[in-house]
């Protein structure tokens, strides 16, 4: 049976520029009904039809889970990425009909926590928008530490401070403000859970310090979607379906497989959920693994690849698809 999600037919109900890099998109159901309820930290996969190309990018839902009349996502423009964010910024206007997935949560709150300590970097703020709404509505105990480059790029910093006052602390890179992480992690009450979402460097830093300071791994949660990276084109043979495909420079391997009419299961498209894990039948070349799902041993073995984010360089690659 398929492990994918049900799709939702939506219409873009509003497009709101938030600052020079970030734009917010509002979606409503085309039939006027309510959208499914979701939990803070959930994402949806947005299908972008760009000429003959289809991109499927995951974005965190940032509205209140209590309001299901519309979903909202915020997209940071990435001028050197594969073009998904540019498509959203340039092509998506109010009234456009789009298809998104049902919500999926791979960054769920641990509701046993006595306190939720949240660390956000840049656009990594979006899942915390929904999680703080959820917790505030239920009287939950949370504290949010948010690092941004400048005050003007502090997406939703004003909204969050207005809503939650001194439960939100801001740190601006241009003023050389920096979280005193060791002090913060050393002064939390027992039963605190730690959540971090932001650039890979920040996530690694926080996880390393938390481990060094004795935080149990099951209390440290992180959202680590890797965006697929562009790279040199390469050819792949799909043994099961008997097809040979070329993966373009701006295309992910998963997208190329889908473009050939083969549909592997997927949920996150960011190297986290494990759904699209694919067996390698043979290879002659070098893997560029970018996922957070396979073990290091799997990476070294050359027997598995996560086609949503990983690539290949070399003479030949045969996959069990």
């Amino acid at each position: 049976m398929s492990t994918g999600t049900t799709k939702l037919d939506v219409v873009v109900s509003d497009v709101v520029p938030v600052n020079e890099l970030v734009t917010r998109f509002h979606f409503r159901r085309r039939d006027g009904g309510l959208l499914p309820t979701f939990s803070g930290g959930a994402h949806v996969v947005v299908e972008m039809r760009d000429g003959d190309r289809t991109r499927l990018n995951p974005y965190s839902l940032m509205g209140s889970p209590l309001d299901t009349r519309e979903y909202t996502i915020s997209v940071r423009r990435d001028d050197v990425g594969r073009g998904g964010s540019l498509f959203m910024h340039r092509q998506v206007k109010p009234g456009l009909e789009m298809v998104i997935s049902y919500p999926v949560n791979l960054f769920s709150l641990d509701l046993r926590a006595k306190k939720h300590l949240m660390l956000a970097g840049g656009i990594g703020i979006t899942p915390f928008m929904a999680q703080t709404s959820q917790l505030a509505g239920a009287g939950g105990n949370f504290e949010l530490h948010y690092t941004c480059r400048t005050a003007s790029l502090g997406t939703y910093a004003d909204v969050l401070q207005q809503r939650y006052g001194n439960r939100v602390r801001l740190y601006h890179d241009d003023r050389e403000e920096r979280i005193d992480l060791d002090k913060l992690l050393s002064s939390q009450p027992l039963g605190t859970h730690l959540y971090v979402c932001g650039p890979a460097g920040m996530i690694n830093w926080v996880r390393d310090r938390a481990a060094a300071l004795g935080w149990p791994p099951e209390t440290v949660h992180f959202e680590h979607f890797a965006a697929p990276q562009p790279g040199a084109p390469f050819d792949v043979t799909l043994a099961v379906s008997g097809k040979t495909i070329r993966v373009g420079e701006q295309q992910s391997l998963l997208e190329a497989i889908e473009a050939a009419g083969v549909d592997p299961p997927y949920l996150c498209r960011g190297g986290v959920c494990g759904q699209c894990e694919t067996n390698v039948i043979s290879s002659d070349g070098k893997f560029i693994h970018n996922d957070h799902w396979l073990s290091e041993e799997d990476h070294r073995s050359g027997c598995k690849i996560m086609p949503c984010v990983s690539r290949f360089e070399g003479k030949s690659l045969v996959l069990e698809r």
Binding site: T6, F38, S39, G41, A138
Partner: protein, 346 residues
């Protein structure tokens, strides 16, 4: 016209029985003449009219009597219903799911009116008409999970999902096949399945966990499980083993048809939206041998399944003591002719 609810008991004088329509809709669990474990999971989608899958949450003629039996069990042993403190939100999720599904499938018996957070729930068979604030536990006579599962057939386990595992952190369990919520509460998926024979070696639980943790909102799944019970007793719990265990020694060739029951569980799995937990309803259906063998195909097939069941499974399901008597009784109804494929009667 709605369902005519039977007045019957699942204890003492055991007046439980199935009407002819309910015999035909019984979820017979064997699609071939032999049984072995398999990861027999399929999408939980609506099935044929007149089957137990006509609605995703099934309500049948035993509804009122089952709810009365549940109330008796809870009065004697409140620990059959437990919810760890972090599971209240999942309880609200379950309340929403069960109210919506019951009102959708049986509008003549159940009505849900939603006005923002103010909800009105009318349950005509049980004479309930309550207005409450969704999310505010103080506006209900019980916690949300207990409130709605006192009004819903079947047991319910709510599994918290974290650290790549599922945790039995809440449940209402009064119609179980010899397992205890009070014993299992707080355990993870591998811990509570530890007593099951053969399946661990086959890697079934590792695969099943991987599947369950990926269940998505709006895409529930289901499977059937089965065992046998002597007398139509819903509460075959370890806590009350002294009340029902000895019944296994009372089966004679004369009373097989009335005493021995096939017990089928329709298990479904649903992602809950607010809590990201999984709810696992375990709906129990009972049918006595006299009722089951009114369908000749089922009689022939059940004979072959029970006769050829591996010894470990027979022991685990508690059939050892009366299996020879049952097989002998069923053998007289098996002329050796072929059975048609599929679950349903001919």
């Amino acid at each position: 016209m709605g369902i005519t609810f039977r007045k019957e008991t699942f204890r003492d004088d055991y007046t439980f029985r199935n009407s002819p329509e309910h015999i035909r809709r019984f979820p017979f669990p064997f699609n071939e003449d032999a049984y072995m474990y398999a990861v027999n999971i399929e999408p939980h989608v609506v099935g044929p009219k007149g089957s137990v899958l006509e609605n995703l949450i099934d309500v049948d003629e035993h509804y009122v009597a089952e709810m009365q039996d549940r109330a008796l069990v809870l009065a004697e042993d409140p620990l059959r219903c437990q919810s760890l403190p972090h599971m209240t939100l999942a309880g609200w999720d379950l309340l929403e799911l069960l109210m919506e599904q019951q009102a959708l499938g049986y509008p003549e018996h159940f009505t849900l009116e939603r006005n923002g957070d103010r909800w009105r729930w009318i349950n005509r068979p049980l004479g309930i008409d309550d207005t409450f604030t969704f999310g505010d536990t103080s506006t209900l006579p019980y916690g949300p999970m207990e409130y709605i599962t006192r009004q819903s057939q079947g047991d319910f386990c709510i599994l918290d999902q974290r650290d790549g595992n599922l945790w039995m952190d809440a449940g209402m369990v009064t119609t179980q096949a010899d397992w205890s919520l009070d014993f299992d509460i707080g355990m993870n998926f591998f811990e509570w399945h530890a007593p099951v024979p053969l399946a661990h070696e086959k890697g079934i639980f590792t695969r099943a966990l991987k599947f369950l943790t990926n269940i998505q909102q709006g895409k529930p799944a289901r499977r059937l499980n089965w065992t046998m019970t002597i007398n139509p007793r819903l509460d075959t719990s370890p806590e009350n083993y002294h009340k029902w265990g000895p019944d296994r020694a009372t089966v004679t060739p004369e009373n097989v048809g009335q005493k021995v029951h096939l017990r089928v569980e329709l298990q479904s799995f649903w992602r809950l939206p607010r809590s990201n937990a999984i709810v696992f309803p375990i709906r129990c259906y009972l049918i006595k041998m006299d009722e089951l063998v009114t369908q000749p195909k089922w009689a022939r097939r059940l004979h072959r399944v029970i006769r050829d069941l591996p010894e470990e499974l027979a022991t685990y399901k508690g059939l050892t003591r009366y299996r020879p008597t049952l097989v002998e009784w069923l053998s007289k109804l098996d002329d050796g002719s072929a059975t048609s494929p599929g679950f349903g009667p001919d």
